[in-house]
Symmetry: C2
Subunit: 251 residues, 2 copies
């Protein structure tokens, strides 16, 4: 009666494009798209998919879905590597939930899904889609683009268990030295906005949510942004940018 | 400066589960999820992913994303098989748009994305997720499940070019003979609702949108539902179910 194979076949998927973004590495990336609107990204299509015909009509949509691979996360498909539980940052890094109840990057098939804003389509050389609000590390392989359909996919009434709203924002401040570095750059204003949006999400590991002396670094564009968690007068934590330096390995 | 490979690697993806649904074949399937709320489907996880721990906490979400393979569509990854333009039914099947501006099943990597309602999680034998509103053919291989996050993913203000709203519904009527077949079945009421919802979407090929003598068939559960397009008094097309028979090859 049931003629399905016990072990279904494997599907070899080929990237249709690669992401270029403000996030050279994973640390600091907002945990959901749209949380750092100042984050720029481009999706550059690769051959043979870099045909302007393939995006004809896409400019009439304001938002797109990208399906991509979390290529910096370990493979989990081999049974030995598979772990069914994860600790979402949302729950303080202590409670465990099922991987399929989470948006964790550590998951079977390492598939990611991001809703991004489409800013511009550039078909001067191949196809480049300029995006806003992307939470994607530079070099991310993208498997598919789909237009967002608000009448089917906007469900504001949906119940979202342990993640019912956007995570709270932390206060962010910059030292005078850090402000001076930004003032000297042509992209200083934009970068300042990006730094504030990224740090407001608290990129520290989930188990570090209190003030501490340790200095963290997050890489944005060509910079290493170093910050500390300070106790603000009202008892809240503020993230303070102590210095901004050119990232090692960048020219 | 750019050390990315010209041809990115291929990612072998493994299904985590398979769909069991009311749609034994492609014809008749609503073109977006949520359009046929009476459609039942289950996602049955396969080994080693059929561990109840993997869905712990998922019951606190009302809606899920499924990423799956359109396994009945042809592969498009080999350059020779790749066609950048498609004819969406939405545009009457005449105008062509880019495949990435469409939700066509004929696309590179054959990836599908569906927002479905989670009705129940059954962990009696492995893991079975009971779903509502799914637009998935029976046997569909599913690659990932993610919870829906309304605060990030409900964007009712999004602009959706040539697909700004749900497609219009056609009127549907059933012959007395068809009604009699339904009355004799325990699932008759539910099936009647499903038939009306599926036909209201006009499952005929996009270039056939006028009244015609031809009888079409759509398979739902174990039945073959045969219908015709009639001219209604007000000039609109009505789809009329002329008979309902047991589908060939079903027991």
């Amino acid at each position: 009666m049931n003629d399905r194979p016990a072990q279904p076949e494997t599907f070899p998927l080929t990237p249709i494009g690669l992401i270029e973004s403000d996030f050279p590495d994973k640390f600091g990336i907002p945990r959901q798209p749209g949380l750092a609107a100042a984050a720029r990204a481009s999706l550059v299509l690769v051959s043979p998919f870099d045909d302007p015909l393939a995006v004809r009509g896409l400019e009439t949509f304001s938002h797109l879905w990208l399906t991509f691979i979390f290529h910096l996360s370990p493979q989990q498909v081999a049974p030995a590597r598979w772990t069914p539980l994860v600790r979402p940052p949302r729950l303080g890094g202590n409670a465990k939930v099922g991987v399929f109840a989470s948006r964790s990057t550590h998951r079977p098939n390492r598939l990611g899904l991001s809703l991004v804003e489409l800013v511009e389509i550039d078909t001067t050389h191949g196809v480049r889609l300029k995006l806003r609000g992307a939470d994607l590390v530079d070099g991310t392989p993208v498997l598919d683009i789909k237009p967002y359909l608000p009448w089917a996919e906007a469900r504001p009434e949906a119940r979202a268990g342990f993640a019912p709203e956007a995570p709270p924002n932390l206060a962010v401040s910059l030292s005078p030295e850090a402000e001076a570095v930004l003032s000297a750059r042509p992209d200083g204003d934009e970068l300042g906005e990006l730094i504030r949006q990224v740090l407001a999400q608290d990129p520290r590991p989930a188990y570090r949510r209190t003030p501490e002396a340790r200095v963290y670094g997050v890489r944005l564009r060509d910079l290493d942004v170093r910050f500390q968690a300070l106790q603000a007068p009202a008892g809240h934590t503020t993230l303070r940018v102590v210095e901004i330096v050119l990232a090692a390995g960048r020219t």
